[in-house]
Amino acid sequence: MIQSRRLVLDTLREGPTLFAGLPGEAVDLDALAAHLVERGIDGGIHVTDGSLEGLLWIQQGEPGETWFFEAAGQEAVLPMTSSRDLLLDIAARGGAISVFVGTQPDALTARFSSATGEPAASLFVAGPMAAVDTTVSAISVEPRMPVDGAGPPAAAMPAPGKQAAVRPEVSGAAAGPQPGWMPPAQRWPAILAEVRARVARHRGPKLAAQFTAALTEALREHGGSADGGHIVAPPLSEAAWRDVAEAACAPVAAVAGRAFVDRTIAAAEHAAGDLSHRRGDHP
């Protein structure tokens, strides 16, 4: 089915809403984007001031395209300007910020990537909107993971249709990283070290050694290493770290089962969060 970009946005807005109608001037947009990136939440940050709308996609732990629309529903033909500046401008003009959970259609991502040549290096992508095809094949709105363990985001947040009436107070949690938050480069080594300790405690050092060997192998693909309890890796996205964890846990899952691995990773994430919270390791 062929859909316009506007229809994609409308469908996205009908799906799970993480935040609705936050006052633009009170929200640190950079921190909000960084928060979604670090938590591996797929979706879009939507900013509108009534006359202009912007949508920044966050996909698989990476910021993606930025779409702009006029109030009439047409895509804006914009000069070559920074998307980030324009989004900030919309927000500063009394705009409302919402975060919707969903995935960007693959077909459009591929076209955009080929148009720009390489993936975005910064959080906000500058790009000539006129160069982007305005039709896409489909959209799927599906949360990849519960947010903060509170269940599906849609259940916890106001429905998109009610966002005009709902203007919640902006908390630190909504506008930026939460206490105990760590970037993946610090958080995942701590989680994996905790997983290793738990595997050793429950299943003995032999299986823990197999975990370490698989972890070393998985990190090597990214130029990292796991020497004993010391894990070294270059900056990786949340999705890449999860892939590394999955590969490292494969020998454990084969013996102790998937349920054991899932519980262990969840407990290790919790323990790593507690540890950083106690140390005050948050930006």
Binding site: R198, A200, R201, H202, R203, G204, P205, K206, L207, Q210, A254, V255, A256, G257, R258, A259, F260, D262, R263, T264, A267
Partner: protein, 262 residues
């Protein structure tokens, strides 16, 4: 919190109750007749209750795994084995209390006892396949040698006279099968314990290996006492059957705890 405590301590309390009842049923001698009848009743109940508890504990362990987890299947098969033994014991008791047969051997009940050994051996083989890469060659060889030595010893000391006698072929076959299966359960249970050595999961398999040891002792003792016409329902050797299933139940419950507290 209260529910968690109940989940943890209620089964442990039940096992403790079985142990106390076992001490009563098999631990005293020379009691008056009315006490002896009570001990018969308690002993029969224990021989059914203990494998039932073991089956439920193994089932509880199997339920904490995700569908498709191979180790979950090990505990599920272990549960089926214990339930097979339970059914065999019910039939055995029915022969005694309803049919008036003092020692129903061999009987239909033996079909379920054989099923128990086949299923428990299958479960242990599945587990050994999982943990074999974790056990070093000297450990494997030692367990293999220990199993072979135990089996040869049991054949020479206990089964030799039975095999040389004029007992019915089915009795000889069953006696040889029970001894062989029970003796080999010990190293089979120790193999995963060796693989997980240093981890909390090793204790589950130590309990399974100890259960195998009790089963081997009970089987050998059973064969020996029957051969010399010394066997009775309240003989102390029967406590080993109960102990075996209490240990199997403890192993299952511990495994569930380890999996849940990952």
């Amino acid at each position: 919190m209260k529910e968690k405590l109940n989940r943890k301590w209620a089964p442990a309390g039940m096992l403790a109750g079985i142990v106390l009842a076992t001490l009563y049923a098999y631990g005293f001698g020379g009691n008056p007749l009315h006490d002896r009848i009570l001990r018969h009743v308690v002993a029969t109940g224990l021989q059914i209750l203990a494998p039932l508890a073991a089956g439920l504990a193994c089932l509880a362990a199997a339920r904490v795994y995700a569908p498709g987890d191979r180790e979950g299947r090990v505990w599920a098969i272990g549960a089926a084995a214990a339930f097979a033994w339970t059914i065999g014991r019910v039939i055995f008791a029915a022969y005694q209390w309803v049919g008036g047969i003092a020692l129903p051997y061999p009987s239909l009940a033996d079909g379920f006892f054989v099923a128990f050994y086949v299923l428990i051996a299958a479960a242990l083989l599945l587990e050994i396949r999982l943990v074999l890469p974790l056990v070093e060659r000297p450990g494997r060889l030692f367990l293999l040698a220990a199993g072979a030595a135990g089996w040869i010893g049991s054949i020479l000391l206990i089964l030799g006279p039975i095999m040389a006698s004029s007992a019915a072929p089915i009795e000889k076959l069953l006696a040889a099968f029970y001894q062989t299966a029970a003796v080999l359960l010990v190293p089979a249970g120790l193999m995963p314990a060796l693989g997980f050595r240093g981890g909390r999961s090793a204790y589950s398999w130590l309990a399974v290996a100890a259960a195998g040891l009790c089963l081997a002792g009970a089987s050998l003792g059973y064969a020996f006492l029957i051969w010399y016409n010394l066997y009775s329902d309240v003989h102390g050797i029967n406590a080993l059957w109960v102990a075996a299933f209490v240990l199997l139940a403890a192993g299952g419950l511990w495994q569930r705890t380890v999996q849940e507290e990952a």
